[in-house]
């Protein structure tokens, strides 16, 4: 039909294909971050959960302090501390079922540890003896991911695969505020929503990407507002309120588990220490800002709630501290032992089917090590293989 033929017959109509496919209203986050501690809602939370969170927060802070100390002793190559963000780390770990999967970003060793991973294994990457120090299947913790936001599509794919296989598995993926700017964040959230994959994205908005403050990272009303653009709910939560983070994540996970698809959760928190031990945060932020956040400390917040309500006494606090100290002492001791390394491992896992080229290089290194060993009159270094 040509334009001419259409004329006359034509009557203006709305575009036929278009209709709102989802009601945007329920997808939008609340204007203020959800809080539980210090509000009436706190009374509805299981006291055991609060005590559990508390113990893990105390442990977590001690873990961060210990790991940072280990960098000073040269036992870790680098450590990105999550001090100040323990509520997010711990809630993310505790909210998952055994069968669920956690996808940490590079800063999230604490979440992995709180999920049950041996801290020495969790710190392998940062210690420098291997890239991943654990079998991801053991605790269903994906390898710590350094290229920012690239773990998010992995989480989507894994959750999608689990659903296709009929397994009741949810994936929880962690990312920073800076990481939300990467294309992979966008693509992951879009795939998740289109596939209605059982995955929850937790953005720890700690105010900075190294030195870059949030205002240079986004102009959005909140990072949680990004959710509506994918057709998933966005939730905003006080990231220093462990009970609130746990609650919001629980709901999101239940939603995902029930077939409701993904959720984007933004936890508003703050990185209390420098980006890593190698960073100098004096260059880009003032003490006042840090101090303001100290008044909103996740441990103090929960401790206040528990003590006010008589759920925690000095003995309980003491117990938590002792438990944390024991963990730290054990960690310190084991990290002070030199790891036993086999240089030949460099070749062992590159391929299932190594190339002949690589086998030649492997032989070359073995020969070098043998020669070195003969030179030193020692056992050859790679002999164990």
């Amino acid at each position: 039909m040509t334009v001419m033929e259409q004329r006359g017959a034509y009557r203006p109509t709305p575009p036929p294909a278009w209709q709102p496919r989802t009601d945007p209203a329920p997808l939008l986050p609340d204007a203020l971050p959800h809080r539980v501690l210090g509000t009436e809602a706190a009374e509805r939370v299981d006291p055991d959960l609060l005590r559990r969170l508390y113990a893990e927060l105390v442990r977590g802070r001690r873990y961060n302090a210990q790991a940072t100390a280990l960098t000073k002793q040269g036992r870790l190559a680098v450590y990105p501390s999550s001090t100040g963000q323990e509520a997010c780390e711990v809630a993310a770990a505790l909210v998952l079922e055994e069968r669920d999967w956690l996808f940490p970003s590079y800063r999230d060793t604490l979440a992995a540890v709180a999920r049950g991973l041996d801290p020495v294994k969790a710190l392998t990457l940062l210690r420098g003896d291997w890239h991943t120090g654990y079998d991801p299947h053991e605790h269903r913790v994906a390898p710590l991911c350094t290229p920012l936001a690239t773990q998010l599509p992995h989480a989507v794919g894994l959750a999608h695969a689990a659903r296709l296989k009929g397994d009741d598995v949810v994936a929880l993926a962690l990312v920073g505020d800076g990481g939300t700017s990467e294309g992979d964040f966008h693509e992951a959230l879009n795939f998740a929503a289109v596939w209605q994959a059982p995955v929850v994205f937790l953005v720890q908005n700690n105010g900075f990407a190294i030195s870059v403050p949030l205002a240079k990272q986004t102009a959005a009303p909140s990072l949680a507002h990004k959710a509506v653009g994918y057709g998933m709910p966005g939730r905003l939560v006080d990231g220093n309120d462990a009970a609130a983070v746990h609650e919001v994540l629980s709901e999101a996970i239940a939603h995902a588990r029930g077939g409701g698809g993904p959720t984007l959760v933004e936890a508003v928190t703050y990185r209390m220490e420098a980006h890593t031990n190698a960073d100098d945060d004096k260059r880009y932020r003032g003490d006042a800002e840090v101090e303001a956040w100290r008044a909103h400390d996740p441990i103090a917040l929960l401790e206040h709630e528990l003590t006010e309500r008589g759920l925690l006494d000095e003995a309980g606090m003491q117990a938590a501290r002792e438990d944390a100290e024991a963990m730290a002492a054990d960690l310190r001791e084991r990290m002070n032992q030199d790891p036993v390394l086999d240089p030949m491992d460099l070749f062992a896992h590159v391929y299932a089917q190594p190339t002949t080229q690589l086998l030649e290089q492997e032989a070359q290194l073995q020969a070098e090590l043998d020669a070195e060993a003969r030179h030193h009159g020692d056992e050859p270094e790679g002999a164990a293989r």
Partner: protein, 334 residues
């Protein structure tokens, strides 16, 4: 040549058949990419698969290559064997970070605990009159990335056999499909029992004594043609089809060059920093004292792939190959 009546199939069809058979054999195999489902792919390689296996196993993804490969990584982490299609060579570039930083490294990163048996199908190369970004030869990038296997068929039978092997491999494989051979046919018979070709073995497509043409993918037929034409000049050329760039079959290649004493590497990819440098260097390392002349390279120019009307000037053709052969210092012979 053959007396048995065979139903000729194109390379595209053989690839489709390989996907089909792999999916039928192993429920873990999933196909995903842009337009691979309902449409059957822009080259129709995946035609019919969505109908046979359903949308859960043959998935039209959103339009985002990093997302496609990134979600495939997650699927592989959970035990699936994703076969990912990148619609064209240049449209694989957005997925490079996922490819280099994750696909190629996950097994090593996790000491073998998390292998990623992903096959990444990439139609590549020119010669089909494609506009910008539709004719790149990007194999140099893949070759330079440890942890990947890089495979490319030149015959219909290899298209089937190598794709089956790629999907069966526990290593990630970049499977480069020479798009101008998609419609090629040879004696492959889809109705006969099929063989899975092992990855990593080159094959001598034509034996000869004067010099070796080392080539792969879209340049194999060109080299065979050049070898025919060379007879008129008195040269009896051997043609080696690499089939797999990683792993590289040093044995077959070196044996050939030691026999002939001369070699030319032929490929469409640009010359500088392209596959030919690696190939020439390793052949020379291994065959130095057998060589009568340096290993020469006939390759695409070091320019962005040309527009359709000029691509014939860019693509290595018979004449350019013969010119290179002529430069192999035959004077020394006499």
């Amino acid at each position: 040549m053959t007396t048995v009546a065979v139903k000729p199939a194109t390379m595209a069809q053989a690839l489709g058949r390989a996907l089909r058979d792999a999916m039928a054999d192993d429920p873990a195999v999933h196909v995903m990419g842009e337009d691979v489902g309902t449409l059957g792919g822009v080259f129709r390689v995946t035609d019919g698969l969505a109908k046979e296996f359903g949308e859960d196993r043959v998935t039209d993804t959103p339009l985002a290559e990093a997302g496609i490969l990134g979600t495939a990584v997650g699927m592989a982490m959970y035990g699936l064997r994703p076969v990912v299609e990148m619609q064209f060579d240049a449209f694989a570039y957005p997925a490079f970070e996922q490819l280099i930083s994750h696909v190629a490294r996950m097994r090593n990163r996790t000491r073998g605990a998390m292998p990623l048996p992903i096959t990444i199908r990439v139609p590549y190369g020119g010669g089909i009159g494609g506009v910008e970004h539709h004719s790149d030869s990007s194999e140099a990038y893949y070759m330079a990335t440890p942890g990947l296997h890089v495979v490319t068929p030149a015959t219909v039978a290899d298209a089937y056999g190598l794709l089956r092997a790629a999907i069966a491999s526990d290593d990630p494989v970049v499977f480069l499909e020479p798009k101008r051979l998609y419609w090629s046919k040879d004696s492959w018979n889809p109705d006969e029992p099929q063989t899975v070709e092992p990855i990593g073995r080159a094959v001598v497509r034509r034996s000869g004594r004067s010099a070796t043409l080392i080539t792969y993918g879209p340049s194999v037929p060109v080299c065979l043609e050049a070898a025919e034409a060379a007879r008129a000049e008195g040269w009896d050329l051997e043609v080696v089809d690499l089939r797999s760039l990683v792993p590289f079959d040093d044995e077959t290649v070196s044996a050939s060059v030691r026999r002939t004493g001369r070699a030319v590497v032929v490929h469409e990819s640009g010359s500088f920093g392209g596959p030919g440098g690696e190939i020439a260097a390793r052949v020379t390392e291994r065959c130095f004292h057998y060589l009568e002349a340096p290993v020469l390279r006939v390759a695409g120019f070091d320019i962005p792939y040309p527009p359709p009307m000029l691509e014939r000037h860019h693509l290595p053709g018979v004449d350019r190959i013969l010119d290179a052969v002529a430069r192999l210092q035959w004077e020394a012979e006499s």
